[in-house]
């Protein structure tokens, strides 16, 4: 395996925070991140919807192997230098049922948890962006976009 792509829910605060944390971690296998709501997803990974990436975590290896749910979490842990030892423990028959329960609970309640912890997501759902009748970018993205436009006006014009 040469790389592992993590399909993460970019509209969920906890998932976006986790992605940012994972990007800072030392890994045995290079990690790539693919937002779940990216329009490019079906073209890049045809048939991925069969694995229900909107309900549980899905990771895809460069060779096409797919892990979902608790096995995806354990595989993700396996890719991290600090997590490999734990991934082997969690994959054992003694701990796997517990891992399955915890992962299912977190996945099902990820949006609720994100709201409680006040974690902002990488992107907002369309109905959130336009709920006051005016469609706009989330404020933090808008600010950074304006800042980059001010610094590089030509780049802003291209966008």
């Amino acid at each position: 395996m040469k790389s592992l792509t993590i399909l993460y829910d970019d509209q969920c605060g906890i998932c976006s925070r986790l992605r940012a944390w994972l990007e800072t971690q030392a890994t045995f296998v290079p990690l790539q991140f693919m937002p779940l709501h990216s329009p490019a997803l079906p073209q890049m990974f045809p048939g991925i919807r069969d694995f229900h990436p909107d309900e549980k975590l899905v990771v895809v290896a460069d060779d096409g192997n797919v892990w979902q749910g608790d096995s995806a979490w354990i595989t993700l842990l396996w890719s991290l230098e600090i997590g490999r030892e734990w991934s082997l423990k969690l994959a054992s028959p003694a701990l796997r049922p517990m891992a399955r329960i915890v992962v299912a609970a977190v996945s099902q309640n990820r949006l609720k948890l994100s709201r409680w912890l006040r974690l902002s997501a990488d992107s907002l759902p369309a109905e959130e962006i336009c709920k006051d009748g005016s469609c706009r970018l989330p404020s933090n993205k808008l600010t950074s976009s304006l800042r980059s436009n001010a610094a590089h006006p030509s780049a802003g014009a291209r966008n």
């Binding site: 395996m1 890049m44 990974f45 048939g47 979902q68 082997l88 969690l90």
Partner: protein, 131 residues
């Protein structure tokens, strides 16, 4: 030479060579383990091996030294033999525990060195064609 001194000398005559023998065994056979753990780096393996054996000597000879005063003072030859036997037995158990702990550390180091080569612990749930 009185009986107590004889007991002490007997105890030291068995315990010290026993410690040296276990340490030598650990040093000789642990090397292969460590060379493998450090990816063939023999210099590093020898250094760690030597440091571990030094720790082993210090703990065990320290224990042998401290334990010499422990126990009852024998009044006859049978008592002296019993006293020596109990002391040597305790030292052997202590050596065994430290030796197993050393093996545990060797194994831990080796396992950590092998971590990058472990395959994913779970089989994939399916397969897709990646574009």
């Amino acid at each position: 030479m009185n009986l107590i001194l004889l007991t002490h000398l007997g105890y030291l005559a068995i315990s010290i060579p026993l410690t040296l023998w276990v340490a030598k065994t650990l040093h000789r056979n642990g090397r292969v383990f460590l060379v493998d753990s450090f990816g063939g780096n023999k210099e590093l393996a020898d250094s760690v091996n030597h440091l571990l054996v030094v720790g082993f000597y210090l703990i065990n000879l320290g224990f042998v030294g401290l334990y010499i005063r422990n126990g009852v003072r024998p009044i006859d030859a049978a008592g002296a033999l019993e006293e020596t036997s109990v002391k040597v037995g305790t030292v052997m158990l202590c050596l065994g525990v430290v030796h197993l702990f050393n093996l545990y550390i060797f194994n831990k180091i080796r396992r950590r060195a092998m971590l990058p080569h472990f395959p994913p612990p779970l089989p994939p749930d399916g397969r897709i064609t990646v574009a």
